[in-house]
Subunit: 385 residues, 2 copies
């Protein structure tokens, strides 16, 4: 029924040997360090040597700049660094190729060389734009990521993906471009907008449910990242770092999404796009992911892969995190549409991730198993749990 064994994607373009054939083959080693740091703007921080040794173009947002601009300026002065700053209005609507090319234009104006660097100092959109620009300039220059939101710190800002929207399609153009370095400073979370915290918590729940029950336990304790107003305490940092480690462990086995179409990190990301879209983006990404996780858990229960106790624990957890578990936008038709779309993107199979028990998940690979009846039953379970 379901499987946890990833299968390797075959290469449909290989013919095998022939007389006048040359096979070009190359192993590319990619590695980068993700550090949790204390005060990223300190003169002795890990950021300082990066700025001191090369020309840098920092890209940031008006909010981050208004709060931290002076500290970055002070660091530049102390180091005598060759640092230019571009403050861009972020937001999903500006995640466009125009903005990417504006960043490229500034790289050109500031004459960044192949070993000079871009720096993204902001949330997910800022990171996306910088990643795509860095991948294009001179066929790829380094970019350093300093994520300032929870979702950036545990998800968008620590991975290798960047993308922009194009002709009405979300993330249609993009790249896989590993950052040169990621510096996670939990202090930013004290000033990040509340909405971005909720989105981040949803992603922590996601990774906990499929990869580490302990992360879920820690999240539910008092003074956890979830409930704490000043998320820079030792306790909240511990949860944050554990979440980062678990997501990176998952990502690093399939960094370029070329090993398998079965990815546990897709949990909560099968129906959520549909929910976001149908709501006219009124429902945030994190809330849509929560609604998707609840439905996926219900499907797991319906298919006999999750106990009722396990299902109830997941619903309780989501509610404790102030996350929704249901939207009336979930209909059998909309869900079937989302599954077909997922199948197109995931090598012909929906590869729906469902939780088995706390900290472990599997895949539903066969569309036929996800019949209208199964979906209707499962939707009913989250509508009136």
């Amino acid at each position: 029924l379901t499987s946890t064994q990833p299968h390797r994607t075959p290469d449909p373009f290989r013919d095998g040997r022939s007389e006048r054939m040359f096979e070009v083959s190359c192993r590319q080693e990619r590695r980068y360090e993700v550090h949790m740091v204390d005060d990223v703007f300190a003169v002795d921080s890990r950021l300082a040597p990066l700025l001191a040794k090369r020309k840098t173009l920092a890209v940031t947002t008006p909010t981050v700049w208004s709060i931290y601009g002076q500290r970055l300026e002070a660091l530049r002065s102390a180091l005598g660094a060759d640092l230019a700053v571009f403050v861009l209005e972020a937001g999903e609507g500006r995640k466009s190729m125009d903005m990417v090319l504006r960043i490229c234009e500034l790289c050109h104006e500031h004459e960044l060389g192949r070993t000079d660097s871009l720096l993204s100092l902001g949330g997910g959109v800022c990171h996306d734009l910088v990643t795509v620009a860095a991948s294009l300039v001179r066929r790829g220059i380094p970019h350093v990521s300093v994520p300032t939101t929870l979702v950036g710190q545990i998800d968008a800002g620590v991975g290798v993906k960047g993308a922009v929207n194009f002709r009405g399609s979300k993330s249609y153009l993009g790249c896989f471009a590993p950052p040169a370095k990621v510096l996670v400073d939990p202090a930013f979370l004290q000033t990040a907008p509340a909405r971005t915290r909720t989105d981040g918590v949803a992603e922590i729940v996601k990774i906990g449910l499929i990869a580490d029950a302990n992360l879920i336990h820690l999240l539910q304790e008092p003074n956890s990242l979830l409930s704490c107003e000043t998320p820079s305490t030792n306790r909240t940092q511990m949860v944050l770092w554990l979440a980062i480690r678990r997501i990176l462990e998952q990502l690093s086995t399939n960094l370029f999404e070329d090993q398998t179409y079965q990815r546990l990190v897709d949990f909560g990301h099968t129906f959520s796009g549909q929910v976001e879209e149908l709501s006219g983006y009124e429902i945030s990404h994190g809330c849509a992911v929560a609604i998707d996780m609840a439905l996926s858990a219900a499907i797991s229960l319906t298919l006999g892969s999750l106990s009722n106790t396990g299902f109830q624990r997941i619903l309780t957890l989501l509610k404790e995190c102030s996350l929704p578990i249901y939207s009336p936008l979930l209909t059998v038709a909309s869900c079937q549409g989302a599954l077909r779309s997922a199948a197109r993107h995931r090598g012909g199979h929906p590869n729906l991730v469902i939780p088995h028990r706390l900290g472990s998940g599997g895949f539903v690979t066969d569309l036929a198993i996800l019949s209208d009846d199964v979906l209707a039953d499962s939707i009913a379970r989250v509508r009136t749990p």
Copy 2:
């Protein structure tokens, strides 16, 4: 003085272990096949199964389309293939991000999925545009390369690089994106413009001089690729295939240019950009490369790394190939400018490639060795050889 030992580029962004550090590490295996084929439009060709199995957007040029359009249409009909064709006006001036985004737009309109494919059927510019578009659409979709010019078949169209011009800078934006497959059909050379043949011959001479003396001998024989009007004979195909193999052997050791800044394939590509630019692009790329190779050989002679006999053989060869060996645009000042620019691009050293003996070359890594006197003496050797 000079060295043939490549040195590995160090990673300046690595700190090493710390308590809260996660190192993301991933080996990416990239491979693709380059085939020499007999009739790429035949129903039983290697192209046919690629078109039959997936949706394809072919990008081609007016010239190629006028000559081969009917054959591609016939193949599409015979296969019942889902194939759309975009005929674009090529030329260096249209190697722009606008054209790349136009191709991306067509991918979107035709709803190409992650495993559907772009096909470039044209020369270097067409290949560049398709490579960059393919690298961006859905974070990378496959692209098949069918180069139709000599320089495309032995150089631009068989490698992994794509780029466009941006804000007046040649190839400023681009990517490393390996093709899914390359199909080289020598029949195209019969209809390719004469100018593209000269450019291709210059690149064959380049690879022969630094990597294989036998290729040079073959090129100088009667009825070789060089002199033959119908370059599809067995003899010309042999030279073509040997050149492709030698260039791919060189490229594949450093496919993403991240292993070393010392690349033998940069032979003829240190002063040539300056020559092209100063001539207002009146001097073609191939001719500029020939002028650069002659000067680099003269420098090798001046520095005692090449015999006078060797130097004269190289000049004779270039002349036999109808390639120039000198331009008055070569001055000590313009050459020093080109060397400084190369050093910026090659990790701080000019890494000038100079021929040692036929089929073997090395590097001048130290700018100081290339004094004004050395350059003046060497320029004099090609001005009045």
